[in-house]
């Protein structure tokens, strides 16, 4: 047993060898016991490893760190963390004695036991242990003399609880005691800054969002739908009237249906996931079973509704057996009927898309080609309000977590997030696309949305930011017509003109698969660091850097110039006209033409 290490031994004690005869060696077991009881005190007081310098300092300040004769009751029953303090004799005596002062007549030399264990070499310790028992008996018999307490001296005790550092099983992690004294860990800001910088760089290094491309369609993919119950199943409708059902895990097509003549304009699944609906250019609404037909059966729709006009979009109610189509007007259908329950119109223009509110499910939103967005109440079978924007809105999407928020994908390259109770000013204008935005879909968390644009890219916007956080594009991806965010909020699918459906990670640099807890902690820490230092110029630059295809890049430059010119002109106009005569219109209000009640 080499504890305490030689440099920890008290020079004072070793200088004065213990009096008393050296008896024969005792059993090692006893030694270890005694050593335990004494060294325990020597070790626990410090949460960090003791360096030679520190130990030297200790020696100066506390000459006998572990002077503690274990009482007889304690010695045999010594266990981890057992409370020894209650039965300890006053320390003063111990100290006095060890300094070589006159001893009490009643006390034999053996009283020195514990100190010897710490202070002197192993042999001495053994001797001491031998004597210790005798002394213990004495303690038990005689009370401490009051004279012993006359010169009291305070000695700081080191106490160690093995619970703190001994692991119970081999499989436990070793507890590493740490000292959080800030003086020992200087330069926290620069160090974290460097870490943040590295994290940002690594994020960019690992940003590989593209996962797979699902090919099989023979014409541009016009619409996509998610399966409400199954994450792996995706449905898509193409411009040649073909509907395909895909399995994402296997990344293959599991079913193909020639659903319509001409475009499949819209596709939606029933809330239970047993069937889906399609509308096409052939003026029909068809309901299909999700499962394929049995062997040898014909691929046939469950129901077919022949309409008078072309339907351009369809959406299913979130709870009930009701769906809505749009075309000339918004029709609400019962699944069982061939006639709409009610149809709502306001104005006479073709409506391009209709969407049910996922939370307050009686609400509907639609957008028409006469540049307006109309909201309907299904219960009262009446339109509610209409907002007219600068240009046509292609589609809208409701926020799945905030009942009154929806985002509209507009032809003027922007997206507008509205609070439906206050339509005169959008909550946020999202601008980054350089061509018409064709589709938009919210993340199921409601914190972000993805938009598909005619400029051959998809972008991810945070709901409360006007600029996108991410842009995805590939060389071969053409105009993106439809986009969906999967229900686990991890992936994004987009269908484009060039007949492919692409699967992307929603978080470009995220590691897929199971993370260990340490990986997770590191990820969280890095994320926080990136957030913390996001405003620092270097980090900002690296985090924002994206490679863009030349077309988009040049378009951005061009548009920047145009915007600047417009702004300059406006500023000049304000400058050179009578103050107050040229109103300053905010960017948000600029694009809203009117709100019609």
């Amino acid at each position: 047993m080499q504890w305490p290490p030689p440099w920890r031994r008290s020079p004072l004690v070793s200088a004065t060898p213990p009096p008393g005869p050296t008896t024969g060696l005792l059993r090692p077991r006893r030694v270890s016991e005694a050593g335990d009881s004494s060294t325990e005190g020597a070790r626990t007081g410090h949460s960090h490893y003791v360096t030679p310098a520190e130990s030297a300092m200790e020696r100066r300040s506390q000459p006998f760190p572990s002077l503690r004769p274990a009482s007889p009751t304690n010695a045999p029953a010594h266990g981890r963390g057992s409370d020894c303090t209650a039965k300890e004799p006053p320390l003063a005596n111990v100290c006095r004695q060890n300094y070589g002062a006159a001893q009490d007549p009643v006390e034999p030399a053996g009283r020195r036991s514990a100190s010897h264990v710490t202070g002197s070499s192993l042999g001495k310790a053994e001797v001491a242990c031998g004597r210790r028992w005798r002394w213990a008996e004495l303690v038990a018999n005689s009370s401490w003399s009051p004279a012993g307490r006359a010169t009291e001296m305070k000695v700081k005790m080191l106490s160690r609880n093995p619970d703190n550092y001994v692991r119970e099983t081999k499989l436990d992690l070793q507890r590493v005691p740490r000292n959080y004294d800030p003086a020992l860990h200087p330069f926290e800001v620069p160090r974290e800054y460097v870490r943040a910088l590295n994290a940002t760089k690594l994020e960019r290094v690992f940003a590989k969002p593209f996962l797979a491309s699902l090919d099989g369609h023979r014409d541009g993919v016009n619409c996509l739908a998610k399966h409400p119950e199954n994450l792996a199943t995706v449905l898509s409708g193409a411009c040649d009237g073909e509907v395909r059902i895909w399995n994402l895990t296997q990344r293959n097509c599991i079913r193909t249906i020639q659903a319509h003549e001409g475009f499949v304009r819209g596709i939606c699944t029933r809330f239970c996931g047993t069937s889906f609906f399609t509308v096409g250019d052939d003026k029909t609404v068809k309901q299909w079973k999700m499962d394929g037909p049995g062997y040898g059966d014909e691929e046939e729709p469950l129901h077919t509704i022949l309409g008078k006009t072309v339907y351009t979009g369809i959406d299913h109610h979130w709870k009930e057996a009701v769906f809505a189509t749009c075309g000339q007007q918004v029709d609400i259908w019962d699944e069982q009927r061939t006639n709409p329950i009610c149809s709502m119109t306001w104005g006479f223009d073709s409506i391009s898309s209709v969407k049910f509110n996922p939370i307050e499910t009686f609400l509907l939103g639609s957008c028409a080609s006469d540049r307006n967005i109309v909201l309907y109440d299904m219960r009262q079978a009446t339109p509610l309000k209409k907002v007219i924007l600068d240009m046509r809105t292609n589609t809208i999407c409701w926020n799945p977590m905030e009942a009154f928020i929806f985002t509209a994908a507009n032809e003027d390259y922007n997206l507008y997030t509205f609070d439906m109770r206050a339509l005169d000013t959008p909550v946020m204008v999202h601008m980054d696309h350089v061509s018409a935005v064709l589709d938009v879909d919210y993340s199921p968390t409601g914190k972000e949305f993805v938009s598909a644009s005619f400029d051959k890219s998809i972008r991810i916007f945070p709901v409360d930011k006007s600029r996108s956080r991410e842009v995805y594009h590939t060389k071969r991806m053409q105009h993106v017509i439809c986009v969906k965010w999967t229900s686990d909020s991890k992936y994004i699918m987009c269908g484009s003109d060039e007949m492919n459906i692409r699967l992307w990670k929603a978080n470009a640099s995220e590691k897929l698969g199971v993370l260990t807890s340490r990986e997770k902690a590191a990820k969280d820490y890095n994320q926080k660091l990136k957030e913390k230092f996001q405003h620092y110029p270097h980090i900002k630059r690296i985090a924002r850097h994206r490679h863009l295809p030349k077309s988009i890049y040049s378009q951005i430059q061009e548009q920047r110039i145009m915007k600047e010119a417009r702004r300059r002109k406006e500023v000049n106009r304000i400058k050179h006209s009578k103050p107050g005569s040229v109103p300053i219109v905010s960017e948000k209000k600029k694009h809203v033409v009117a709100v019609v009640k």
Partner: protein, 767 residues
Amino acid sequence: MTANRLAESLLALSQQEELADLPKDYLLSESEDEGDNDGERKHQKLLEAISSLDGKNRRKLAERSEASLKVSEFNVSSEGSGEKLVLADLLEPVKTSSSLATVKKQLSRVKSKKTVELPLNKEEIERIHREVAFNKTAQVLSKWDPVVLKNRQAEQLVFPLEKEEPAIAPIEHVLSGWKARTPLEQEIFNLLHKNKQPVTDPLLTPVEKASLRAMSLEEAKMRRAELQRARALQSYYEAKARREKKIKSKKYHKVVKKGKAKKALKEFEQLRKVNPAAALEELEKIEKARMMERMSLKHQNSGKWAKSKAIMAKYDLEARQAMQEQLSKNKELTQKLQVASESEEEEGGTEDVEELLVPDVVNEVQMNADGPNPWMLRSCTSDTKEAATQEDPEQLPELEAHGVSESEGEERPMAEEEILLREFEERRSLRKRSELSQDAEPAGSQETIDSGSQEVLSELRVLSQKLKENHQSRKQKASSEGTIPQVQREEPAPEEEEPLLLQRPERVQTLEELEELGKEECFQNKELPRPVLEEQQSERTPNNRPDAPKEKKKKEQMIDLQNLLTTQSPSVKSLAVPTIEELEDEEERNHRQMIKEAFAGDDVIRDFLKEKREAVEASKPKDVDLTLPGWGEWGGVGLKPSAKKRRRFLIKAPEGPPRKDKNLPNVIISEKRNIHAAAHQVQVLPYPFTHHRQFERTIQTPIGSTWNTQRAFQKLTTPKVVTKPGHIIKPIKAEDVGYQSSSRSDLPVIQRNPKRITTRHNKEEKL
């Protein structure tokens, strides 16, 4: 718009004109008629008289007579044209019949009803419908506001929001697909069926279910009982309070009040120990109470009760005691808490009192800290100085000393003054001694005090006489120097006092204090004639030139006294020689001088140079000394490493690039900004922060595990949004956030109302 409005206004105007015109025309026409209709009217009157003879107020019937003058277009006489046709009249038969009465009633009822308004057009109706529907929907949606806000501000959101139930099929479901096959199983099932034990679907028997439901009832009962108890307790408490309030016994109330007062006192004592500031506030409250008491005179013996007691007091001991008590209370309440030591003032030497009241240090502090503009204040005080009378001769020796050292011009008069003051000093000491003796014999102290004060006054008088002589001599000197001929003045007393007066305002800072002092003085020197004082005041007018040089000198002294100027500034030196341009506006100049003097101490240019030197020094790179004392040689207190060693281990700093402001003497260009570091620094304060310090603080708190404990680290790095892979996140539901989902179907109203549907279908078919 404007055109429209114009048209409107025009229209209104024309209408007004018409209205104005109308009565005129009307009158005119009537007068015209009068001539023609005179005869006819008489005839009508006659007819009326005749009809009234009948007794009933008969309705006039328009008679058609050919010979009428007025012939209407339609060949019908216009008489009775003003009357409305009453429907009932048409029914009036020759004889009244009962059957017609009901018809008449109905007719009258019809008449009372108003006409129905025209319906709005369809578009407008739709608009109204839409607006109503929108408002309703907005209201429905507004219930989500708190949820949305909460989610937006949440530290962490874990999706999916709803807790997913573990997909363990309940036992009944498992059982339902299982059939008893073996005889034993069948037997068991038979038994179970016999006892009406639920085998498959509901695991609980109906009785059990009922009991389960009853549990909630019990809870409700318990809750109700609790509420009842609380209410009862409250009512008890209220009743008790009311009862106590109703008790008429004065003794009881007195005891209660006393107890309260005692308690308050105790609390105050404690408060004073624990929280002195609060105690002070409390004290202020007490003071306020005292004020109120003084104002209200509540406990004086002027009240009704007190008067009655006063009458009783003659005979009744108790009443007398009560009165006494009240008076004592009054005294107690009106007694001021902090008693100022004012009693001394009347007895002893005024000088001592002065010192006691306004010690030098206090005044100096005031000078520095008090008031927005100290030198302006000074100019004010200098004006008022002369209003007060001389008071503080102790101060003078010092003044003299300074004055002598400063200017030769003043030397002589000051010396004279000095002599005077010495005399004064001697007398004062003498008087003090006498006072001491007076103190020894308390009896008849009043008289001695009086005599003492008399003595003081007489001394003052003597002093003023001497001063006057002195002053006049000086004045002459001044007049010889001045350009404007001096106005001979007859009033001796004020002038005499001026010089001495001027010396004391250093100690007295505010006008109020001065006034007070003046009053005291007046009180003491009653011999000083009042008119003289008034004269003094009148002399303060600006045309009183000859005072100017004196004033200046005094000011000088004053400044020196306060040691405001460590170095004699040139402006002050020039002032020492009395060069007065009397033509200048005196006051203005005075003011300017004052400010100059005030700022004389700060040499701006030198300060700037010093600052620049310091900045240059600070920016220079420092040498690095790496010598280790005691390394390789002896070390210890008093031992220095050898020069050789120091030379060896001193790393000289390289000469930095030349400063940008090297050739610009008036500029300091800070070179602290490090362009290499600037690339890594945030230039603009990021959005949510309102102050750079906030931002810096967020940056300065480390979040890593190097600086934080494991738990804190985990807390600090919790991600905002957590999603689980492979879990479908459904849109938020009303049930998830504790709202009741509406049981109403989302189907349109028409759908739920088949009647209307049929009508609609019919319509469609028709179409």
